[in-house]
């Protein structure tokens, strides 16, 4: 459970917003309404933007060199190819969303669903750090899992990914028998 919390972007963002809000509330109680109004317009994009900011910041902190642009290609289930360029440190899910690639992200990058499942080329997959237990737990539930499957929200663009071709799994695998227990009778 502690893991669920620490990994939860939404939780973090909420905690930040809450801190902000409580400080507001304690100093100027009248301000509360406007803060809430702010929240409703803010909430849709807040979590992913802040998360992005956090990641970019993290990427920066390891080196003082400004982030480079990396271009990759997404291959949608129907074979359609979409070229996308993003800054180093951007995660693949966000990059897909910014480029209207048909990739979901139901939990908004909190590593709590498997809908941003992507399939990486072998050579890139092997060079990345192992997925965390939490990411693997979600991959357990992914449709069309392969040996080089990852969650898009957990993979950050890096210079060695230049030109990488990322496959999106076909979502329909076993769809209509989902839930039916395999039977030998």
């Amino acid at each position: 459970m502690s893991v669920a919390f620490t990994r939860s972007t939404a939780g973090l963002v909420r905690a930040q917003l809450q801190r902000l809000r409580t400080s507001h509330l304690s100093s100027t109680p009248v301000a509360s309404l406007s803060v809430f109004a702010l929240r409703s317009s803010f909430s849709l994009c807040a979590s992913s933007r802040l998360y992005r900011f956090r990641q970019t910041a993290a990427a920066f902190s390891t080196s003082a060199i400004p982030a480079k642009d990396v271009t990759v290609t997404f291959i949608e289930p129907d074979g359609n190819e979409v070229k996308a360029t993003g800054e180093e440190g951007t995660n693949l899910m966000e990059l897909a969303h910014e480029n209207d690639v048909d990739l979901e992200g139901a939990c908004e990058g909190a590593c709590a669903c498997s809908t941003c499942h992507v399939i990486l080329p072998d050579n890139i997959y092997d060079r990345l750090p192992e997925p965390s237990d939490e990411e693997n737990d979600m991959l357990d539930l992914a449709f069309g899992l392969t040996d080089t499957s990852r969650l898009g929200c957990q993979v950050m663009l890096s210079p060695e990914m230049e030109g990488m071709r990322i496959k999106l799994p076909s979502a329909t695998r076993n769809f209509y028998v989902d839930g039916a227990k395999p039977s030998h009778h």
């Binding site: 459970m1 502690s2 893991v3 669920a4 919390f5 990994r7 939860s8 972007t9 939404a10 939780g11 909420r14 809450q18 809000r21 409580t22 509330l25 509360s32 809430f36 929240r39 409703s40 909430s43 849709l44 979590s47 209207d100 979901e104 139901a106 939990c107 908004e108 909190a110 590593c111 709590a112 669903c113 498997s114 809908t115 237990d133 939490e134 693997n136 737990d137 979600m138 357990d140 539930l141 449709f143 899992l145 979502a171 329909t172 769809f175 209509y176 989902d178 839930g179 227990k181 395999p182 039977s183 030998h184 009778h185």
Partner: protein
């Protein structure tokens, strides 16, 4: 954004070019608006709507929901300590605020068209004015064990009467701590003994176990209701045993939920390690695990983190996975010997021991003549949900779903303009992502039918927003309706109330109170 529009357009046109002989009708369809009603404002309903909006540019969608609040089990089912799972609500918000979507909360769909209760709508009335209706009303009931003692008993102890609860629905327990209005009066016994039994080896069982064993302070910052928090803070439950009739290779919970059990403070996991080893090491077991990554990883977690009963520490709380037991009956106020002390326990749950037969993927539980009894304060049943029929729609009583082919409802052939998505389409299994995919397939079928003119040809004259609004006015749905703006106002109230106590929100748990807040009369 512009690219999205272009891409969708090009998809429509490529279709138009493909079906050249229909060029005229395609033009007509592009001009014409389609009106779609979605029954049920949960994940299935919203994901179906989202996909229709994305795939078709000339559709209006009205979403009907029994409660004033949208989001179904995302609000009332997902555990309060899983806030990240609820992030999908922002997608639902996006759908609900789309100008082509109207939310009709507090509107019950059901009954017949003759029965004109205010705020009620029959499926027939909907079908008479909408081009298509999507049923996504989920699974509102749970499966019972059907054993003696399940419904509990009132017993006389000393000079007062005590309610022994027997077996309570885990679904109701979840709904209770999540603030579902109809579950707020649920009776629970968390104080008369230190153990609860949960029947079932799915994620709902693990959610219940986790909530019962989690340190109360870490729950306090979630959106669990104050009432539940207060009751749980008085809980004496230290041991939870989840019981399944088959073995470790037949569990249906998922890795994340099992891993969470290993991270609970002061809780040890107990299971029969010998059984675990036998099952996993058998030739059939090894073969099965080789092809089942998730199960393999779960068994690894169990091997790594569990202890046998006899090695369990008495100072720790426990979560016990118990296998090969079928519920037989509940006995009340029986004598029970624990380490030489004979006590009267509130309930004794009697089980029959099973053995397994057949390959792991379809192993059958075969009864033996051996029985065992486990004392507990109460038991929860978590052996699956069931959908209920809706008047006016066909229903498969064996499978408890609305019969369909790829989301198109069938009743001796396809019923034009009637679709189904989510649990009522495929049965109550899977996570939100499963429901999302499932809803998308239904939406794809619907949009394909619109593009093919199947729906338009059949319903052409009857669908228009004005006819719909007339019907809604006549059935007095317009007056009782809760709009998306109303809901947002209620949500702001909940969030504000939550902030005062350090929670993401404090849910309002009474329908009348919700309506009062919405109508500004609170």
């Amino acid at each position: 954004m512009a690219t999205t529009v272009l891409r969708v357009r090009s998809k429509t046109w490529s279709f138009g070019i493909f079906a050249t002989s229909r060029r005229f009708s395609i033009c007509r369809i592009v001009e014409r608006e389609n009106n779609i009603a979605v029954v049920g404002g949960g994940a299935a309903g919203f994901y179906t709507a989202a996909r229709i909006l994305y795939k078709s540019k000339n559709t209006n969608i009205d979403i009907f929901e029994k409660l004033p609040t949208p989001h179904g089990l995302v609000r009332y089912g997902v555990a309060p300590d899983h806030p990240e799972v609820k992030n999908c609500m922002s997608k639902f918000d996006e759908v609900a605020s789309n100008e082509r979507v109207r939310f009709f909360g507090n509107v019950q769909v059901g009954g017949t068209s003759d029965d004109h209760q205010p705020g009620h709508l029959s499926l027939d009335s909907l079908r008479s004015v909408y081009d298509s209706v999507v049923l996504s009303y989920g699974a509102s009931k749970d499966r019972r064990l059907n054993i003696p003692g399940e419904d509990g008993k009132t017993v006389k102890s000393g000079d007062k009467n005590d309610n022994r609860l027997g077996v309570v629905s885990a679904r109701q327990f979840v709904a209770w701590y999540n603030g579902l209005p109809e579950a707020q009066d649920l009776e629970l016994d968390l104080e008369s003994y230190d153990k609860i039994i949960i029947i079932g080896h799915g994620n709902v069982a693990l959610d219940c176990a986790r909530i019962l064993l989690t340190d109360i302070d870490s729950l306090a910052s979630t959106d669990i209701t104050e009432k539940a928090l207060e009751k749980l803070s008085r809980s004496k439950i230290r041991h939870v045993e989840i019981v399944g009739r088959r073995g470790p290779l037949q569990v249906s919970f998922t890795t994340k939920e099992l891993r969470e059990m290993t991270k609970l403070k002061d809780v040890q996991i107990i299971c029969d390690r010998q059984l675990l080893e036998n099952e996993c090491q058998s030739t059939a077991g090894q073969e099965y695990l080789k092809n089942s990554r998730a199960l393999k990883r779960m068994m690894d977690i169990l091997f790594k983190h569990s202890v046998n009963s006899e090695d369990a520490s008495r100072d720790l709380k426990s979560f016990k996975l118990s296998f090969l037991k079928s519920p037989v009956e509940i006995l009340f106020d029986q004598k029970w010997s624990d380490n030489g002390n004979v006590n009267v326990v509130p309930q004794l749950f009697k089980f029959r021991i099973n053995r397994l037969e057949g390959p792991p993927e379809s192993a059958k539980a075969i009864s033996t003549d051996i029985f065992t009894e486990i004392p507990c304060a109460m038991a929860l049943r978590s052996i699956g949900y069931v959908s209920t029929p809706l008047e006016g729609a066909p229903f498969d009583k064996q499978r408890n779903i609305v019969p369909n082919i790829a989301g198109r409802v069938i009743d001796n052939g396809v019923v034009p303009g009637l679709y189904v998505s989510g649990w009522v389409k495929r049965g109550p299994v899977g996570v939100i992502a499963t429901t999302m995919q499932d809803a998308y397939r239904t939406a794809d079928a619907l949009v394909m039918d619109i593009n093919n003119g199947h729906i338009a040809a059949d319903n052409m004259p009857k669908s228009s927003r004005s006819a719909i609004d007339q019907m809604l006015e006549k059935t007095r749905v317009t007056q009782s309706r809760v709009t998306n703006e109303d809901w947002k106002r209620l949500e702001e109230f909940e969030i504000e109330k939550g902030y005062q106590v350090g929670k993401p929100r404090e849910k309002v748990t009474d329908v009348q109170e919700m309506l009062n807040i919405i109508r500004n009369t609170a």
